[in-house]
Amino acid sequence: MASFIQLLIGGVSMGILYGVVAIGFVLLWQTSQTINFGQGELVMVPMFMMVGLHLVLKIPFWPSFILTLVACGIMGYLFERLMIRKLLPGGVLVIVIATLGLSGFLRYGMQIAWTPQTLFFPHLFSTKPIELGDIIFSPEDIWNIVIISIIIIVLHLCIKRTKLGMAMQAVAQSRETAELMGINVRHIIILVFVLNSVLAGTAAVFAAPIFFVRYDIGIFLGVKAFVAAIIGGFNQIRGALVGGLTVGLAETFAAAYITTAYRDAFVMILLLIVLLIKPEGIVGIKEEAY
């Protein structure tokens, strides 16, 4: 039982990270039909930025964090401006291929420009295990869960309550109708791209101490986030979160109780099962066939 709770905490803390990355993914899809196969690289790049600013240039944590987020926002803006805007009329497949190209460019670019080695980032919180009866857990996991939950709740409230958030929802429902209602769809889409990059940047800071900083970490995170989005439900922000948690818990428990050898493959098998049984995702709403 004690080990079950420990695994549960570990799984949720992983899952919620996947969830945050997946939320950005879902937002992009909803508002602009962009499938971003470079999503993982949008997490990888800020990881390196944090290492560069905080560890190499010795800038204190908070200023480097803010600088990183600003840089992420600019990256998101350029991503929309220079690539996606021109590609959207070409359809989904064109975007899939182009973002695969982008992910390769960022990945190998980082490898050449910086290092092919794994870099370490200091833990943000204490990792000294806390013992509660039989249960031993790391405060880092708890802090990650708490802080990311707060970020997600704030984001959720912004989308549901503020005018800008409602405009975003309107664009997601119907671009044409939103335009007729006087919403500047262009601006909303840019906003979503910036928001996505900033979310990915935030996730990067939490992920860096856990997954370590490596040029190819983006594939790992990007595929997990994409799987999370599909498992949870592609047309719901809630879905991304549920999917992220499912992926995090599934891989943690599978590794502990079934086999560690197939840890990463297990998530893929889960994906295939979900797609066969409930293709719209666990909490997704059925749309016409994709």
Binding site: F105, Y108, I112
Partner: protein, 314 residues
Amino acid sequence: MKRLLFWGIIIAILCVIPWFLGDYTLYVVSLTYVYTIVAIGLNLTLGYANQVSLCHASFFGIGAYTMALLLAQGWSFWLILPFSGIFAGLFGAVIGFPALKWKDHYLALITIAVNIITFFIMMQESWLTGGPTGVSGITRPSIGPLSFTPDISYYYLLLVFYILAILASIWIVNSKWGRAFRAIGLNELASRGHGISSFNYKLLAFAVGAFFAGVGGGLFAPLLRYIAPDAFTFFISLEFLIMIVIGGMGRIEGPIIGAIIVVMGPEVLRMAEAAYLIVYSLILIFVMLFMRQGLVIVLDRLREAVPAWVERRK
């Protein structure tokens, strides 16, 4: 007549060049032939029928492992090669099932998942696949006294299959199947309206595409004489995709041009692996932004421009 002469000269050149190439260059050219066969398969699936497959390296791997493992059982190369294709083709048909329901990004992710799973199986199931170290000591075939063991003879064998694969793809594209693939690729709903069973043809597009990849794999294993899971990762699938996108999707010449650029480019430019991957990634974005037909349009332009230029010179 003129065209026959043209192709005759090209084939004659390809027959003569191995005598002038060093060992390594000969290997690179041979590898290009193998990869072209796989890329031709992907071109049928993605280029013509518009069904994304990011697990062509799995099909390729299934073909290669079939060859390596059955050769070790003492089977004949000539008997196994069709099996390499058929196993991969059957697997492709199974993977094609999701394609009946999902397309574009969903299919892309599903096929990535398949590639990751097959890679894990190759790595973990050592009793069958030899695990991370793979299978070594793969022999090359012979017909009677004619042995294909020397690199140069195996080159000629690959050249034959290379030409056969290109001819087969021309034949398929112009057959009833090819027309159905293109119809589905252009507009699935409309093609269904014209009585094309999109259900059967989507499965077929995957199966045929995988068959080519399987045959490619069957030829690949004896070329290297050693196979390991590294040769069949998702990144290799991505390289096949890059080949046909750069070359030109939905064109016969596409995979031929693409494979030459992707396999030979790094050797010619003598770049580090990461450096040419950056270049290819940029080309991928560039092609999607400005030149969606691929490099084959450069060839088309030349084909128009050269006769006009000759005309003017007169």
